[in-house]
Symmetry: C2
DNA sequence: ATTAGAAATTAGCTATGGCTAACTTACAAT
DNA sequence: ATTGTAAGTTAGCCATAGCTAATTTCTAAT
């Protein structure tokens, strides 16, 4: 799946462009700068380089688009990232709120050989601890029809599948409530005007209340289908 | 054990200076350049920087010496390196001739938190797959009285403890002969004039012949003491 | 059609850590 | 004591990738 040796910056920019587009946002200079925590002027510089490398299509003042080659690199780095997260959580018992930060660096440091060994040791997982899909070696990636919790109706039982958030703070909070991928919850009540949701944890039978903006980051699918 | 964030170059140079001195060589500009595969002129530049950072004592045209701060950084990186080698071998079944290359990069990428988790998962090992001692968190390091195989006499039984070599080629060869740390061998014969050694593998009862210059890299201790 | 303001780009820096080519220094052999 | 040579240093490059400040462009509201 690797194409040729890339610098860390090239890997981070292509990954960022991919994820911005994947979540439905537009990969503008400012959006990329915000995501990577660099100044817009620096992004313009890198975009020129990525365009020269044929990894993006770039017209000044316009949003960018990954080429097939750029997409391949992005998926490669994301595969590293999510495999590492999964490995750290499963093999080393690292809490799910710490794995992202660690993977952010390790994703650039592991060889294809190690990538394969990790995938093998984990049994080629399809999803990471946050429910993010792990791109396969061949560049394909699992697609699911997920909706945020507030998009379901009261009375529905849903299976939490993915948390669209990576900051440790939020993850620790959601984890403490038991809202992790795989958990089934019943939507008990939705307060009006974007008010909090009341959820019932199927397994424990306990009831929890979750702010609308937090529930918005919890993606789920119908019933308790696996 | 960490002091403050260091660049990869700073970590590699201090590590290299430490290992050159540790094996009994003199850390000159040329020796460091050879080890790191850079030009001597580049080494001079970095030595000036390391001196400014108070990590080495440096007088132009003289061999360098690590300060206490420099030594701490070197030991930290070496601890990372050897813990990673051990982890890759034990937890992922990676062959001992591949772990060095991988660790050479990962040593700069893991956090102190991950370092601790790896050490914990392995039960705080004292030695890596090559028998190299793993510096402890407190900066101390196991010392052993080892001698190369040719330094023993015919008829002696010795326990292999360390291989002073890191190239995959040599490690694969020694591994194929069964000459790995922990193995006990009997020195059967030493041909004169730096000729090959004939060894008997205790467990298998088989006999092998090893060139003098290879035997020179195999460090052992008397008997089969653990 | 104008135009204000946001978004993006350009120009010109900086730091890091490589390199080659030219030079200086140290020292060992005479 | 002199001097040739290897070792080491200096000077002047280069690439990468960040920054600020100044400028240009796009667009949406008038
Ligand atoms: Mn990254
Ligand atoms: Mn994730
Ligand atoms: Mn290294
Ligand atoms: Mn080792």
């Amino acid at each position: 799946m690797r194409v040729k040796p890339q610098t860390r910056a090239v890997e981070d920019y292509t990954k960022t462009i991919y994820t911005i587009a994947e979540r439905g946002d537009v990969p503008t200079t400012n959006a990329i700068a915000g995501e990577l925590d660099v100044r817009p002027a620096s992004v313009t510089g890198m975009l020129r380089k990525l365009a020269a490398l044929q990894l993006i299509r770039y017209e000044p003042y316009r949003p960018v688009e990954l080429t097939e080659a750029g997409r391949r690199i992005a998926l490669e780095v994301i595969r590293h990232h999510r495999l590492i997260e999964t490995f750290l959580a499963q093999a080393l018992g690292m809490p799910w709120d710490q794995v992202h930060e660690e993977a952010e660096i390790l994703e650039h440091a592991i060889s294809e050989r190690l990538e394969d060994r990790i995938a093998e040791a984990l049994g080629h997982p399809e999803f990471d601890p946050h429910g993010d899909p792990i791109p396969r070696r061949d560049g394909t990636i699992a697609r699911r029809e997920l909706r945020p919790l507030p998009a379901f109706s009261s009375g529905e039982a849903v299976r939490i599948a993915r948390i669209r958030r990576q900051d440790a703070e939020a993850l620790r909070y959601l984890g403490s409530l038991g809202l992790t991928p795989g958990t089934t919850v019943m939507i008990h009540d939705k307060a009006p005007l974007d008010g909090p949701l009341t959820l019932e944890l199927r397994d424990l039978g306990t009831s929890i209340v979750l702010a609308h903006h937090m529930a918005q980051t919890v993606m789920a699918e119908h019933g308790d289908a696996s």
